[in-house]
């Protein structure tokens, strides 16, 4: 399919050389444009642009208010299983890790659903590791049927599927897909995905497009920033979003900006994204693609998340646990990653209101 061809056209780009040529006047000119080219976007990701974060923030804020108003949609993840056959150097659920493997029964899923619904949340994201044996599509389908009783919107973040499988899940009530390429650079991708079906770079890269073809309502993508040069990864993420939105105008395409957090594992070779740089990525994305949603997870610590709100965030997770069965609190299971914002839904709601924004609990429904 298509996006890889587009990636190839930028493969030979000399990032260092391009960044060296960027001057103040380029940044200021770009901030006044109505429409940005991919290279304008790259300029906003440059080291030079990092000196203009306030100017970028002013523009990003104005575009965000215009396109989304002062509102933040809340959701929470529900981990159904941590069984995984992949060996990803950065993940706690890595098959090599000797952790307790768990999978929720349908009755347990219902318990989790009740606990989450009691907090007022109406949008949910269900997650599994990659194991077609332990958590086949039929299992996700059954889980979805249970969850439709409690939630207005159900998104999935599971292993990549075929178009027909996406259609089957949508039929059952799924309306959103989240899937991260993790890293767009093929060499790094090979290096960090040591074994398992996830080694198949192309099947994963094309998954969002398959979901769009299946007419999924919303598709959320991202790169796990830190695995490779974050400027390059942010650039390719933006290109991917733009590609999908141009090709599938009726899909709500959005982007997440996850960055590496401490976790169980030995992977050390990282290009950590500091706070300023993550802000730069977010602002550049908002200015490049004003109509695209931006999600910030609880990987980020609370005060930092609160400050990000006016800069372009449209969706935030709340009341999060990344452990299987964590919401109904039966088990202190292993977390996929460490949480930086441990506030309850109520506390996050108050924080959003305090920022002069409206927390939104419901923005879709089963129709």
């Amino acid at each position: 399919m298509g996006f890889y061809n587009e990636l190839l056209t930028f493969k030979e780009i000399d990032y260092e050389g391009f960044f060296k040529k960027i001057e103040e006047k380029d940044i200021l000119r770009i901030l006044q444009q109505n429409k940005l080219s991919p290279l304008d976007y790259l300029a906003l990701l440059s080291p030079k642009a990092s000196s203009y974060l306030e100017e970028m923030a002013q523009r990003a804020h104005q575009l965000s208010v215009q396109h989304f108003g002062k509102s933040i949609l809340l959701y929470t993840p529900m981990y159904l299983s941590n069984h995984c056959v992949n060996r990803c150097a950065y993940c706690s659920f890595n098959v090599d890790h000797d952790i307790k493997r768990e999978k929720l029964s349908l009755a347990e899923i219902e318990e989790e659903a009740k606990a989450i619904a009691a907090t007022g949340l109406k949008h949910i994201l269900i997650l599994t590791g990659e194991s077609r044996k332990e958590t086949p599509v039929s299992y996700i389908l059954e889980a979805t049927k249970v969850l439709t009783k409690y939630f207005d919107s159900i998104s999935i973040e599971i292993y990549p599927l075929e178009t027909e499988e996406y259609k089957a899940l949508m039929e059952a009530g799924v309306d959103g897909l989240t899937i991260y390429q993790e890293v767009y650079d093929e060499e790094v991708y090979k290096k960090v995905h040591l074994a398992g079906p996830k080694k198949n770079y192309h099947f994963r890269l094309d998954a969002p497009e398959r979901a769009c073809e299946a007419k999924m309502r919303s598709v959320n993508i991202g790169a796990l920033l830190g695995l490779n040069s974050w400027r390059e990864e942010a650039f390719m993420t933006g290109l991917h979003v733009s590609y999908l939105q141009n090709k599938f105008m009726d899909v709500e395409v959005s982007v997440s900006l996850p960055r590496m957090r401490p976790h169980i594992g030995v992977f050390k070779d990282l290009d950590f994204v500091d706070d300023r740089s993550l802000v730069q990525v977010m602002l550049a994305l908002r200015i490049f693609l004003p109509y695209v949603g931006i999600t910030i997870s609880t990987r980020e610590r609370q005060s930092y998340r609160d400050h990000l709100i006016p800069l372009g965030v449209t969706k935030m997770s709340a009341g999060v646990t990344t452990a299987v069965g964590g919401h109904s609190g039966k088990d202190e299971g292993i977390n996929q990653f460490e949480i930086g914002d441990t506030r309850s839904v109520e506390e996050i709601k108050e924080a959003i209101l305090a920022k002069g924004y409206q927390p939104i609990f419901k923005n879709w429904m089963q129709i």
Binding site: V65, Q66, H67, F68, G69, K70, S71, G120, K122, R217, Q245, M249, D250, V251, E252, V253, Y291, L353, G356, Y357, Q358, P359, I360, F361, K362, N363, W364, M365, I367
Partner: protein, 258 residues
């Protein structure tokens, strides 16, 4: 001022407002009061009947006509299903059809909107379709049973004013049901402009919701709509290129300058 009649209901206020993009629902009652609107639109997908603070319906006074909209619908079928849900939720039988299959510019899909209008009008809804100002499409909506037609003035949320002025004027001149300019109106002066042209009403959301003082801005829009309507009814004098007193070419006929 003369009353506006939509679907058999007469309205004193010719300003319709939206509920999206506000920093808090709590502001709604005051906004509604300050502008005197009688019709308020809200996205059905956002209506959260179980939520207390989150349920927008709790903030709309009972005497206001609810105009639920089908925001989020990507085709006629989805719009029809959302409209039926709105009625089942107790939102009455007015419906603003919004079919948008373009996430970049949020432009309405006239073709799908016509289809949805036809089905919903037959089901007894008071249908107000949001549309791209096109005469043939507006005629089709009218024929399909629309109670009013709502052309956009500019892409939604842009506050850019009446960019589609010429096309909207044609609809005002040719369509029998009320024309309500929806989307794009960014300032009260632009609302006046639409009303002076003969628009039956305007719908404003972003310009009020994202101003620094929504309550005062709502009041300003209320006044503007009234001013524009009065001006329209009083028949704005024709524009002239020359000052009226001088008749340099024909003055001799009345003996001036002999």
């Amino acid at each position: 001022m003369d009353e506006l009649i939509i679907g058999g209901t007469s309205l004193k206020s010719r300003l319709l407002i939206g509920t999206g993009k506000y920093a808090s629902n709590k502001m709604m009652p005051k906004v509604i009061e300050s502008c005197g609107t009688q019709v308020v639109t809200m996205a059905v997908r956002r209506v959260d009947l179980e939520g207390k603070e989150e349920n927008i319906l709790e903030y709309i006074p009972k005497d206001i006509i609810l105009l639920p909209n089908t925001s989020g619908a990507r085709n006629a079928d989805e719009a029809i299903r959302i409209a039926r849900l709105a009625r089942a939720m107790g939102c009455g039988n007015w419906i603003k059809i919004e079919v948008i299959s373009d996430n970049k510019y949020l432009l309405p899909d006239n073709f799908e909107t016509i289809k949805a209008t036809e089905v919903l009008a037959k089901e007894g809804f008071i249908v107000l379709p949001y549309m791209n100002p096109d005469l043939m499409a507006a005629k089709a909506m009218e024929a399909a049973g629309a109670a009013a037609v709502m052309p956009l003035g500019a892409p939604i949320g842009t506050n850019r004013g009446l960019r589609t002025k010429e096309m909207v004027q044609i609809l005002i001149d040719e369509i029998k049901v009320p024309i309500i300019v929806d989307a794009g109106i960014g300032k009260p002066s632009q609302a006046v402009e639409a009303m002076e042209m003969g628009a039956a009403a305007v719908l404003v959301n972003t310009a009020i919701a994202s101003s620094d003082n929504p309550i005062d801005m709502a009041k300003a829009f209320g006044l503007a709509v009234e001013a524009g309507r009065l001006a329209y009814l009083s028949k704005v004098g024709p524009e002239r290129k020359l000052a009226n007193a001088s008749s340099p070419l024909t003055g001799f006929l009345s003996g001036v300058g002999e």
